[in-house]
Homo-oligomer: 391 residues x 3
């Protein structure tokens, strides 16, 4: 295993670098790693690590909590395929331009334009306020706007994997002391990547955490006519908008200016031995899609988030495996969905993202999801579940 420092905890940013396949090591043909510090506009000062495994190139952002900004799939036929979405903001946005402490609690939206965004670690979900109407927990927490104090690029010759490891601390004296350690990597030539996260309570006192993976897809993968496939055990609309959209919860409908977001909360079936489950988003035509694989033991909740506004307003569908539901922190705490952590306790999470390029891969993925469903009839509520949705 060879490492290249990107951010060293002592000496800091190692500077821009290009690591061609020759330098990576044997078995890395066609692969490369490139590190840049972006400048200009709201991205000024964002460090970006572009990992290219010969098939998929994906951009990891140490400055934004080691999220993944975009990916690009090399296709044998046709143009490269961008994986991600076009938010109204031009990202990646430096955290300093994201007012997460804005009294409204929704300043987080100003930095939201990534493919793969973690929401947490202390809290996520809708903003929460105290009895004075004063913000206590901003939308989706702080981790996506906290820079990593440590990051390395690596190539593992034995496993033939390429990627980035790093750590981000979300700590405040007298409050949470949580560390995210991550490895974001891909096998050489694989049309996907894998995220392995560990969240550790660094404190000598009990702590707690929330985590939601906000994985977001726009054109060309998610356009009107795309659909979601998931082995649903139970499902409920988050609120009235989603209740009205219930018959088409798994459809990415037409661009609808003026529409509000439609959100569905669910629990999924999984493979009994492994607890693994899969969800997919399939483009119209059925020859392109994306699949997420994760453990329902680690991530017991799954959320489908659809913004059906026009493309220029950010038409997008989010697939969101989660520890908890994205309600205000106090509601989740009352419902027992905030994860408790003993002193020094860690929890690990793994999400695999795979691009399904071609009808054969799409068909196979859908068959696997069907196999997990295994004919079990989903329990679908017409109304929001008062245990799941904050009033």
């Amino acid at each position: 295993m060879t490492h290249w420092p990107v951010i060293d905890p002592q000496s800091g940013f190692a500077g821009p670098q290009e690591i061609p396949s020759e330098s990576l090591g044997s078995g890395a043909a066609g692969s490369s790693i490139s590190v840049e510090r972006l400048t200009g506009g709201k991205r000024d000062g964002v460090d970006r690590v572009r990992v290219n495994n010969g098939r998929l190139s994906f951009d990891v952002l140490p400055t934004r909590g080691l999220g993944v900004h975009r990916a690009m799939l090399r296709r044998d036929v046709g143009d490269d395929l961008p994986i991600g979405w076009q938010a109204p903001v031009r990202g990646p946005v430096h955290p300093n331009f994201v007012p997460v402490a804005e009294p409204s609690g929704i300043g987080w939206l100003d930095g939201f334009d990534e493919l793969f965004v973690r929401c947490g670690l202390n809290s996520n979900g809708a903003p929460d306020f105290d009895e004075h109407g004063r913000l206590t927990h901003g939308l989706h927490g702080k981790i996506a706007n906290t820079p990593a104090h440590e990051a390395q690029a690596f190539f593992d010759e034995r496993e033939k994997r390429i990627g980035v490891t790093g750590s981000v601390d979300e700590s405040r004296l007298f409050f949470s002391k949580l560390r995210l350690s991550t490895e974001i990597s891909a096998a050489i030539g694989e049309p996907g990547f894998r995220v392995r996260d560990t969240v550790t309570n660094l404190s000598a006192e009990p702590g707690s955490m929330q985590l939601l993976y906000h994985v977001n897809f726009g054109a060309p993968l998610c356009v009107p006519g795309a659909r979601v496939a998931a082995p649903v055990k139970k499902l409920a609309p988050r609120g009235d908008v989603a209740a009205a959209d219930l018959p088409t919860w798994d459809q990415c409908g037409p661009e609808t200016p003026g529409s509000a977001e439609s959100v569905f909360f669910m629990q999924l079936h999984s493979e009994p031995e492994t607890d693994l489950t899969s969800v997919a988003l399939i483009a119209p035509g059925g020859d392109l899609g994306v699949r997420l694989t994760f453990s329902t033991a680690q991530l017991p909740w799954f959320i489908v988030w659809k913004n059906r506004q026009a493309a220029e307003d950010g038409y997008v569908t989010g697939l969101e495996p989660a520890v908890n539901l994205p309600n205000p922190h106090s509601f989740e705490r009352a419902k027992g969905r905030v994860a408790e952590l003993a002193p020094q306790e860690s929890r690990s999470f793994e999400v695999h993202l795979e691009v399904l390029d071609g009808t054969a891969r799409v068909t196979a993925a859908l068959a696997e999801i069907d196999a997990i469903q295994d004919g079990q009839v989903p329990d679908i509520r017409n109304e929001p579940n008062p245990d799941w949705s904050a009033p």
Copy 2:
């Protein structure tokens, strides 16, 4: 037309550069463009484009929404003349040091030290709060603290104009998606500059905008004894302080420690064919002044803002052509002064700033303002107008 990238949307900041007149092209003798990234203090990271047309040098700040920080007039006799004001803060201030989301709503003041500041785009005016007392709209909006994602310097050989073009987006998912595109330029040798702005609703949904040009003058142009000239149609004091100052609304009075700001709201006459109007600020002695020219069809309101505190506290007079009055957003909306924008609709605005160097120029400008007034008696209210001033 030759362009030099300053901020490229993809590759970012093009770096410091010096473009002497030889490189600009024919007809640019004595002119130059210089691009710097400032460091140290609160200005750390601010990009500055200094445009010198041989007579006037003015500093455009891509980092601060393409506002104009200062100008400097070369005079045939005597020292160069600075145009701008000395705020209590040492600017230009990087937006990251301006807490526009501070619960008080007035954090914007920390970045306020420029000659030419746009207030907008979604809102401007006094801060607005919801029923919980929680900030909804900060003082004067976000555009002056939003960095341009794109900027270029240019020289137009045909028109013999030199300047900067660029764009700034003020966008948030689920909220406004507004773009400011600007050209700030001067003819070679002209003792002034022209700002041409277009604000576009990038959304597929209806939007709205507010815009106010906060153009600010301190010593040596605005000192006690300076006066404002404008072809007033209707005028009212904003509140009690201004009502008491009404007899001297157009006078820049003595430095008065402890005084509060004195603000006057007005509508102006304009040339019938062109809708153009002019306002001026004339230094004591009558041999120096500044004139703004703009269209009352584009900018139907005009505000005179006088801070009469001592020089060290920021003695300054602002001349402010505007789409709306600088009241809280909800008041302006109720009064119908928030400009509606259809999907993809644009509105354009133009303001010309001209330094009046010498008695002849001052006299000519005052004569033109008199000609627009054309003997029509201004309608001056003694009290705040309840349709114009929020309670």
Copy 3:
């Protein structure tokens, strides 16, 4: 006296530099100055001036209001001794990552990891809110998160002193206009440093100020068993937690996960002729300590702050000479402890920090503190003093 610019008000950051003893001048043998701009994580963009006087090396941070991040004592026997503490955050933290305007009022904690932190200038102490519950004064004010607009390193050949001078402005139009000017220096070979501050009201109007020096010590100096020595005149616990800890107010007790901070407010005796007083923190074993010397005329209050949480949660003791007590601003104002400043008035403050390396130095320091106490019985209250502690 030779100066090396670090931050110039016009040209900005002078860049990284190494000034070896040869360049400093005669009498500076073994000394050096090093200037760096840190990168990576939350420290990205922080400028650090490391001053080494041959015995003690200390890090001054122009970016963080010219506070002192850490010091390191060279010892004749054994390893170098770090002076400072390990906060849960990995600092030094750039002010842009410190949400001082967070509605909670305690965002300041995110940047708190320094040895020597000024709390002020307009306010310090617990956050204050208006009648809407809206933040008016954040915890401990703004000065520690305001960058210096001017800083120089210097060596004074006559005095044989090495250090940094600089200025930080805390100014807002219509509000305070305060300037901190500081000299942080050490005699060559001295195991300590001296801070000389002047706070000036730059305004033509009356102003006010608060100032508290938050000087913080963790391991190896402050560990369980360490103790505080001070010539106490009057002492009261801040609240119930400290009241319960009163019998051991001067003891650094065992690491106690789950404990709340224990804070004691006091007035000290001083030398009658000079008004100087001393306080010390002595490590277990009695062969290591630190002493602060200051004037009770300048700094009439002294606070002992003990965080007894585990090391990983920031076990630390703060010794805090102050102009006022760290209550909400409105309480201190009501009690007359906000210092008034006439227009252009300045106040000066001096704090000397000395490491007591070895039993002889510890014993001598304790004897001096005893001499100031001079047998006078301290007036120790069991309960919070309602004039000292906000309800």
